[in-house]
Amino acid sequence: MGISLKEVSYSYNPKRKGTKYALKNVSLEINERDEMIAIIGESGSGKSTLVSLFNALKIPTLGEANVMGITIKKIRKRKENYNSIRKHVGLVFQFSDYQLFEETVLNDVMFAPMNFGYKKEEAKEIAIKALNLVGIDESFYEKSPFQLSGGEKKIVSIAGILAMEPDILVFDEPTAGLDPETKKKMIELFRVLNRDLHKTVVFITHDMNIVMEYAKRVIVVADRTIKYDGTKEELFLNHLDIVKDAHIDYPDTFIISKMINEKLNKNINQLLESKEELLEELLKDE
């Protein structure tokens, strides 16, 4: 179960001669529980294409994807109905404007459960649960989604996905363009989803500090394929070439501790997850 990709390639126009693949030969396994994965890589490397394979929005041109026991394969027949996959794998898009459309916040969050056949009352209950989870209070329920600020819209759109009660949650650049406060709230939400509700959370990000602090597993996408799949420690310490080729930054704590080690001739662990830990380490040494 979970998500498994076997040598998947994807092309946006497979019929054209000499077509370029947006993804080439990608193999990947993701568990349906308890994973916290960051997908990193420069813009245009294929990250967004990769995540839309996770819930069958895109069908592999070559190879085979298996999501929650259902095989997704290119076949000649008409597009099959993959709605049951989408219930298990919730994908939150980068721009929340693409998602919101109802007159009120509450109705918009109810959209997904109603698509999956829940009655109106049940859908409302589920929606309220999701809204509570993301910390949107009752005063917002009857507001129009278009009145909200960018950050609030984003959080409502996440609630809209959580209302499907998916096992795996995938976020496409969730923190882009958010103020630090909202950003923090969002990341904390990921932590709750992962640690307390045991869901698998996958997020695309360019912020290495978030990767360092929260991710357990890191997938580097570069040059249209997966270049690295493993722990962040291993990546930052032993794979300098990949970090360089994929145009990835190092996390602040990594850079600062490296500078301290060089200038002050100390030996601090470079893989501390947060600035607080770094400070503690420094004080301990004194």
């Binding site: 008409r78 709605n83 989408r86 693409y98 998602q99 459309f101 997904a112 698509n115 999956f116």
Partner: protein, 321 residues
């Protein structure tokens, strides 16, 4: 998404490509008018042949031009059949009895069901429609067992056949002429030409530059908006929306979830675009330097003269008995 080509323009270097877009637009209009002056099918066929020769000498693919006919095929087929059945002038050239019997009606039902089911898996839908119609005709003609109504007398008259062929070919010729224009002219050049042609409207305080700007921006944003539509559909599909299956009411409901974000995003975008243009010192109606300047060549004059002669000939044919 990436394979979306705006308009039908095929890059090339032929004499048709090199003509001034103004000359091409005017010629297109003149030719269309000329076609409407023709009264018999032979003149239309000759002009259709001429147009095809033009297409070939400009090294354009006929297949592409035929593909341009696609949206009109059903309409022209309908016009053809309508004329054939209801025009009752001249001699009868074909006569047959059509039977509405239990067997023929059940055969038609069966054929219809097979037709609609197979439609989903087939590519040449138009050819299949022709096969379908002829199968219906055959079953009406030959399956006469257990008659329900009196047989229907199908008469095809000479004049009816003539008119239907005439209307059919006239439609095709006109579409071919406009395809000739769109295949060889860039949308941007077309807009420039339209701007030039609308200049007389300045008398009525209408600024042709603004019209051209509106067309340019609209053309520029078609692929962007399409791309957006696909993204919105994906975002809603991720929440279990289904745009293809389900009852009509359900599908209309799903469509709302596509249209509302489209409008919101488009309005926001146009606001932003206007601000961006203003902040780069754009003032509506103020004269500005141009990137492209249209150049009128002696060849354009030659083309216009030929086309005008053609129109003259058509008018002569019309007036002369």
């Amino acid at each position: 998404m990436n394979n979306f080509v705006l308009g039908q323009y095929v890059p090339g270097n032929s004499y048709l490509h090199k003509l001034d877009p103004r000359a091409k637009i005017i010629s297109t209009i003149v030719l269309m008018v000329a076609i409407f002056f023709f009264k018999n099918v032979y003149a239309i066929l000759v002009s259709l042949a001429l147009i095809i020769i033009l297409l070939l000498t400009a090294r354009l693919s006929i297949i592409k031009a035929i593909k341009g006919l696609k949206p009109l095929l059903i309409l022209s087929l309908f016009v053809f059949i309508f004329q054939l059945l209801f025009n009752r002038q001249g001699d009868i050239i074909y006569n047959t009895k059509l039977y509405f019997s239990l067997t023929s009606i059940s055969a038609i039902l069966l054929i219809t069901i097979i037709y609609f089911i197979s439609l989903k898996y087939l590519k040449l839908k138009f050819l299949w429609l022709l096969v379908y119609l002829s199968l219906i005709f055959i079953s009406l003609k030959y399956l006469s067992f257990v008659e329900l109504f009196n047989p229907f007398d199908l008469n095809i008259y000479k004049e009816g056949l003539n008119t239907s062929l005439f209307v059919f070919f006239r439609l095709i010729t006109i579409v071919f002429i406009s395809t000739l224009l769109t295949l060889t002219t860039k949308p941007t050049d077309l807009t420039l030409a339209i701007e030039w042609l609308f200049r007389p409207l300045k008398i009525f305080k209408i600024n042709p530059e603004e019209i051209a700007l509106i067309i340019t921006i609209a053309l520029r944003y078609i692929p962007t908006i399409l791309d957006e539509a696909y993204k919105i559909m994906d975002a809603q599909a991720a929440r279990g929306a289904d745009f293809k299956n389900g009852s009509l009411i359900k599908r209309i409901k799903q469509l709302v979830s596509l249209l509302v974000p489209m409008f919101v995003i488009s309005f926001e975008r146009s606001d932003e675009l206007a601000d961006a243009m203003l902040s780069r010192n754009f003032v509506p109606g103020k004269p500005k330097t141009r990137y492209h300047i249209l150049k009128w060549n002696y060849k354009d004059t030659v083309a216009l003269v030929i086309v005008t002669l053609f129109l003259g000939g058509a008018i002569c044919l019309y007036i002369l008995p």
